[in-house]
């Protein structure tokens, strides 16, 4: 076994870290938290300039899952927003894999240059975990498709150029078989966006599709092949694209506060810091394992679930500990005088609950591990 990075991967890590430090500035963070748009355009452009976005897209770049892990691990450690980049990389990977050459030519260059963004139109007001139940309807009308329905949790819809839209094209066949994926420009007439603010400053959106008309050029991966396209996307996540190491920046921020206030000498505080450091190490190792499995050519499906179950629960536990220890000052938000860790503790308290929901809820992941890994019998 070898837990170290090659000199080449180590060099890549240092460069990614430098780019993050240079682009995710305090002013940029302030802008994210005040506007709710957790996308760092200078970061995307700087990564693209070095060819790092292209390099990270499965099927286009070198496709090294270890590098993908390094990229997202560095972003998480720095508390830099990574959702936009992970969606971008996954969408680019899907288009490259199942798109037409015209779609690749039209969409990929600006995505890979870090100049455009994509969002995912999967969840709906009435279906989240159960994606096969989507009811947004696409009907053929001559040479065109007419799309009607509503999507929920379309984060970045208000700044994205493209949406991957999961629709129902054939309600007469079994649920998984009648789905079709489209990729269309967000400025297509008939799309409207309504903001959904979240408790963690980040804005997400409800999106509405009213008689949106698109041609076959927007069909992605073939009619009634939507579930396959969705699965391709899941395989690209490889269990390494975020939400598995949030405890690192939490502990760093908390440690800064503990040193500043002198609480660092308190054994009650030190024990919890040590336990958090242990959990952070385990979360890192589990994520690294998913990357290594992917690098070995397999799909870390259940391993990704295990990682998320552990990492998100450990993070939520630590957030609560540190919120309790910092007391009244831990309740103060960013920019308030005296706020513990500059307001980070309060923010993490609002950020934590979403981690066990988005990207696969704890219950979906438990069922996945219980049935696919432990082999427990399905309920009736």
């Amino acid at each position: 076994m070898d837990f170290s990075l090659t000199p080449e991967a180590e060099e890549y890590r240092r460069d990614v870290r430098r780019i993050i430090a240079e682009t995710v500035t305090p002013a940029e963070r302030h802008r994210q938290h005040s506007t709710g748009s957790f996308v760092c355009a200078p970061l995307h452009r700087a990564l693209a300039e070095r060819g790092y976005i292209e390099r990270a897209v499965p099927g286009i770049g070198k496709g090294d899952p270890i590098e993908l892990w390094v990229l997202f691990n560095e972003m998480e450690k720095a508390a830099a927003p990574s959702d936009a980049l992970s969606v971008l990389i996954i969408v680019a990977g899907i288009i490259n894999r199942v798109g037409t050459s015209a779609q690749r030519e039209r969409i990929l260059p600006s995505l890979l240059a870090g100049e455009s963004l994509a969002c995912l139109g999967y969840s709906e007001p009435d279906c989240g975990s159960d994606l096969a139940a989507v009811s947004t309807r696409a009907r053929r009308d001559g040479a065109e498709w007419v799309i009607n329905g509503a999507k929920m949790w379309t984060t970045m819809a208000h700044i994205a150029d493209w949406v991957l839209l999961l629709t129902r094209t054939d309600p007469t066949v079994s649920r998984h078989k009648g789905l079709t994926m489209f990729v269309l420009p967000m400025d297509t007439p008939g799309i409207s966006i309504s903001p959904v603010p979240t408790m963690a400053n980040e804005r997400t959106n409800a999106t509405f599709y009213d008689d949106v008309r698109v041609g076959d050029d927007c069909l992605l991966g073939g009619e009634n092949r939507g579930w396959d396209v969705l699965t391709v996307g899941l395989s690209f996540e490889r269990g390494v694209v975020g939400d598995s190491n949030a405890g690192v920046s939490l502990l760093r921020h908390f440690r800064g506060w503990a040193e500043q206030t002198g609480r660092i000498t308190d054994p009650l505080v030190r024990e919890k810091m040590a336990r958090t450091a242990i959990d952070n190490e385990v979360a890192k190792l589990l994520t690294q394992r998913s990357a290594w499995i992917a690098a070995s050519g397999d799909l870390p499906g259940v391993e990704g679930s295990m990682t998320k179950l552990f990492a998100t629960a450990a993070y939520q536990k630590a957030v609560r500990w540190f919120q309790e220890i910092t007391g009244p000052e831990g309740l103060l938000r960013f920019d308030e005088p005296g706020a513990a860790a500059g307001g980070w503790i309060e923010y993490e308290g609002r950020h934590a609950p979403g981690c066990t929901i988005r990207g696969g809820t704890t219950e979906i992941n438990r069922t996945n591990v219980g049935q696919r890994h432990l082999g427990l019998p399905r309920g009736t």
Binding site: M273, R275, L374, L376
Partner: protein, 355 residues
């Protein structure tokens, strides 16, 4: 390849050899039969026949020169079956001696370490394997001593049915082999190997739960088909995998350190390659995981889990008894905190400077 988590060819060989050895030679009936002492001399002799006692000793003293990476694989196999033999203590104590005697290398004598310093009366209290070990290494005052004396052969009745006993640091054939200060490698290795055993305990306890809920029917269906039960079990394999990875990483760090590679401790960057720190992490985490998994597994066995005839209670008691001979895990965390965040006084000075 960058980051390679596949076991080496040697590690695979060890895993296969020890897993099949213990499966054949240490059935659960043997574990029961060995209680309350928690030691089976015949199994110990059979281990000697495959050179297990000298596995991780250097070749210059007649050992096999195995790496820590190989040793933790063997010990995990021991933990899976709760093998009633003090291989962990013996390996750690023998490795601490510059010239372990031939009888330690070939296993005709048993060695152990006293995890806590001798008390004022010159007694080491509740030494693991103290009931059966011929040689004990430990701290007496400011000295590190090795004592050869007759073991009592019996243990006070204890939670895990482990062969614990008080031993004298002053009576018997005694030699001073070093100073107390700076003696920590053996205890670090004990933490690591105990963590490896606890990974085995946890992994097997989880398998027992899955096996039971699959065959046990209530309300006309396997209890394992109820989501409440599935979800209670689904959190556990990630814990086993995490503990195993941490053990393997600590072993890798030990082997790298032996090869002279400088370790790193940078918590802000989530980068720790220091062996003693990783050994503590692995110990605390594996002990917590083994306690949690045996608890949940016992629970899902229902009344049969609580009954002595069930196997899970054997795992439950060892998951607690094996690690707790070292002391309160919270104290372990505080010692870990010194390595990770600096000593409390030093941390305070840092904060006075404006941190």
């Amino acid at each position: 390849m960058s980051v390679d988590l596949a076991p080496s060819a040697d590690e695979q060989l060890i895993e296969h050899a020890f897993t099949s050895f213990f499966a054949k030679e240490a059935p659960i009936e043997l574990v029961r039969r060995s209680e309350p002492l928690g030691f089976d001399r015949e199994l110990w002799s059979k281990l000697a026949a495959i050179d297990a006692q000298g596995l991780a000793l250097p070749e210059r003293v007649g050992g096999s020169g195995a790496t820590m990476g190989m040793l933790v694989v063997a010990i995990e196999a021991l933990g899976r079956v709760l093998a009633p033999v003090p291989l962990i203590e013996h390996a750690v104590a023998s490795r601490a001696l510059d010239q372990p005697g031939r009888d330690l290398v070939d296993g005709t004598a048993i060695a152990t370490i006293a995890l806590r310093p001798a008390e004022a009366d010159g007694r080491w209290r509740l030494v693991p394997a103290g009931a059966v070990a011929d040689v004990v290494i430990g701290i007496d005052g400011d000295q590190l001593v090795v004592v050869r004396s007759a073991p009592p052969g019996s243990a006070p009745h204890n939670h895990a049915c482990a062969p614990l006993a008080d031993r004298s640091a002053r009576e018997g054939e005694r030699a001073v082999i070093g100073m107390a200060a700076g003696w920590s490698t053996a205890v670090s290795e004990w933490r690591l190997l105990t963590a490896a055993a606890l990974v085995g305990v946890a992994a097997r306890a989880l398998e027992l739960a899955v096996e039971y809920v699959t065959v046990r029917h209530q309300f006309g269906r396997p209890v394992g088909s109820f989501q409440a039960v599935q979800h209670g079990l689904a959190d556990l394999p990630g814990l086993v995998e995490g503990a195993r990875l941490l053990v393997r990483k600590a072993a890798w760090a030990a082997d790298r350190s032996a090869a002279g590679v400088e370790p790193v401790i940078d918590v802000d960057d989530n980068d720790v390659t220091d062996f003693p720190a990783l050994a503590r992490m692995a110990f605390v985490f594996a002990a917590d995981v083994a306690a949690k998994i045996t608890d949940r597994s016992l629970h899902y066995h229902g009344g049969y889990g609580f009954a002595e005839e069930g196997a899970i209670q054997l795992f439950y008691r060892r998951a607690r008894g094996w690690p707790l001979v070292l002391g309160d895990p919270s104290t372990e965390c505080l010692d870990l905190a010194v390595a990770l965040f600096g000593a409390p006084a030093a941390a305070e000075r840092r904060s006075e400077k404006g941190g």
